[in-house]
């Protein structure tokens, strides 16, 4: 029951996203291309964050002389 509601809510959010980015008017294969491009870029950003964030944080803390 809760799963059905959550699914309905998620599909409403997807509908809003599709409307605002004008993907609503594109054919299904165009939507898949655009979505996969977007997910690829987002995944790359997350991966970069995961690899480099600890280094950046250590550097900042070192600059402000919180940790040696």
């Amino acid at each position: 029951m809760a799963l059905a509601d959550a699914w309905k809510q998620l599909s409403w959010f997807y509908y809003q996203y599709v409307l605002v980015t004008a993907l609503y008017m594109l054919e299904p294969w165009e939507r898949t291309i655009f979505n996969s491009l977007l997910i690829t870029v987002a995944a790359m950003a997350v991966y970069t964050g995961y690899v480099f964030m600890p280094q950046h944080i250590m550097a900042i803390l070192h600059y402000f002389e919180v940790v040696q």
């Binding site: 809003q16 409307l19 004008a22 008017m25 291309i33 655009f34």
Partner: protein, 480 residues
């Protein structure tokens, strides 16, 4: 989205995709391309995807409710086929049926039937040759009396009234000051006339005054001679904005700088003013002060055609010098009779109060719809009293979604997008009619409420609650 459009175009050029639209022949491929300009780009890639919201075939008269034929598309709107079913009783919020005269009630149409039996349907001649029927003379006298001016002349087509008569009134060496958002017919007439055209910002009196001052000080562009005529072209109600013209201020400016005024009352005649006489009555201005009053019979009178009214010398001049009078076929007798009976009904000459009731009903419907839409939180353009209500949708994606969802709920709306409005301000335009009942408007409002929450259209931040706050006692002290 632009990226996708370009990719699609590329695929089409390479030959991956079958090209559905017109293309040059093989032999002409090396010539300058005919089908590649920007508007076509937009048309191919954007308009075609949402094309099913326009040009819907209708199979009943466009009254307050009508029947729409259902059609589906198998290949994303390149071709359509009718399924054979009709969607009945769709509430009509798009027809310009302001006073509800688009009806087929037998009693009201008796005189029209008589006229058809007597005169037939075709006139087969122009006004100047053998097409000047006695009904035309009757109509013109009636229109002049209705508007309160000396004389009027009627033409067969509203668009042609503008585009064919402006060249007869102004020519080279004259100046036309036209509003930013004027209708295409006015722009076409202005361009055909050969006069210099300057555009002032929409309803902006400072811009207009500055242009008038500059024009009178510096004269014609190269020779600096005085202008032969300065004509200010405005419309009564602008059909895409719903805003009213600022008539008293324009009249003051016109008198001060000795210019002429051309007022196009296509949407406002019959629809504004306490007795339906148009913007001149709404502002309490004498219609004889406006030099050229133009209007159409298509919107409030439920017929077809246009008129130009003004002083007797002006109209007599137009009778012989207008392109439309000399070359275009005269109006058809049943149409003329419909206009005559509609005007008689509004003026009350036929003995009933039906006309007055309709004008009052239209005003009430307009105010009700506008206030409820504003309360709900939609962004509406236009003056409080104009029956044209544009509701802003802003995003091109929502244009298609809105129209399809409304049709599913059995309400027919007109949505407008790029070439008619700026690309970021797409809107849905409602035309209120006197034939709409409270229940119909309530149904429309309820559907808009649900749709507004579903598609997130309630952009306004000025939402006021429509439930008045309940206090136990009044805020202020009352002396008893």
């Amino acid at each position: 989205m632009d990226i996708t459009k370009k990719k699609r175009d590329f695929l089409r050029a390479v030959g991956f995709e079958k090209c559905h639209q017109a293309q040059e022949r093989e032999e002409q491929k090396d010539f300058v391309p005919l089908y590649q300009d920007f508007e076509n780009f937009y048309k191919r890639n954007l308009y075609t995807r949402v094309r099913d919201n326009w040009n819907r075939p209708i199979c009943s008269l466009p009254g307050p409710v009508f029947d729409v034929m259902e059609r589906v598309s198998d290949d994303y709107n390149w071709t359509f086929r009718l399924t054979g079913r009709t969607i009945e009783n769709v509430i009509n919020m798009g027809s310009y049926n302001y006073l509800g005269f688009a009806e087929n009630n037998v009693d009201f149409l008796k005189t029209v039937a008589e006229e058809t039996r007597q005169y037939g349907v075709g006139v087969c001649s122009t006004r100047q040759e053998l097409g000047n029927l006695s009904t035309h003379e009757k109509l013109e006298r009636l229109v002049a009396e209705f508007l309160g001016v000396e004389s009027a002349m009627a033409f067969g087509m509203g668009f042609a009234t503008n585009s064919m008569n402006i060249p007869a009134l102004v020519g080279k060496g004259c100046l036309i000051l036209s509003d930013e958002l004027n209708h295409t017919s006015l722009i076409l007439g202005a361009r055909l006339s050969g006069a210099t055209i300057r555009v002032f910002k929409h309803n902006n009196m400072q811009s207009l005054e500055k242009m008038l001052k500059d024009a009178i000080c510096s004269g014609q562009p190269r020779t600096h001679r005085a202008w032969k005529k300065i004509l200010i072209m405005v419309e009564g109600i602008y059909s895409m904005e719903g805003s009213l013209v600022r008539l008293p201020e324009i009249l003051a400016l016109k008198k001060k700088y000795k210019a002429y005024l051309y007022l196009d009352e296509a949407h406002s005649i019959g629809a504004v003013g306490p007795t339906g006489r148009g913007v001149t009555e709404y502002f309490g201005v004498d219609p004889n002060e406006v030099d050229v009053l133009m209007g159409t019979f298509t919107k409030s009178f439920g017929a077809a055609g246009g008129y130009i009214a003004g002083k007797k010398e002006l109209v007599d001049y137009l009778r012989s010098h207008s392109h439309s009078a000399v070359y275009a076929t005269a109006m058809s007798p049943p149409v003329v009779e419909q206009i005559i009976r509609a005007i008689k009904c509004i003026m009350g000459v036929d003995g009933t109060t039906e006309g007055q009731r309709r004008v009052r009903q239209l005003a009430e419907n307009t105010r009700y719809l506008r206030s409820r839409l504003k309360e709900m939180g939609f962004i509406i353009y236009g003056n409080q009293d104009s029956p044209v209500v544009p509701l802003l949708l802003y995003l091109p994606g929502k244009v298609g979604a809105f129209s399809r969802a409304m049709l599913k709920r059995k309400i027919g709306v007109v949505v407008v997008g790029f070439p008619a409005t700026p690309i970021t301000e797409a809107r849905a335009r409602f035309c209120v009619s006197a034939a709409h009942t409270r229940e119909m408007l309530d149904k429309v409002l309820q559907s808009l409420d649900e749709l507004g929450d579903d598609i997130k259209l309630k952009f306004s931040r000025h939402r006021s609650s429509y439930r008045p706050e309940l206090y136990d006692e009044t805020d202020f002290e009352l002396d008893s």
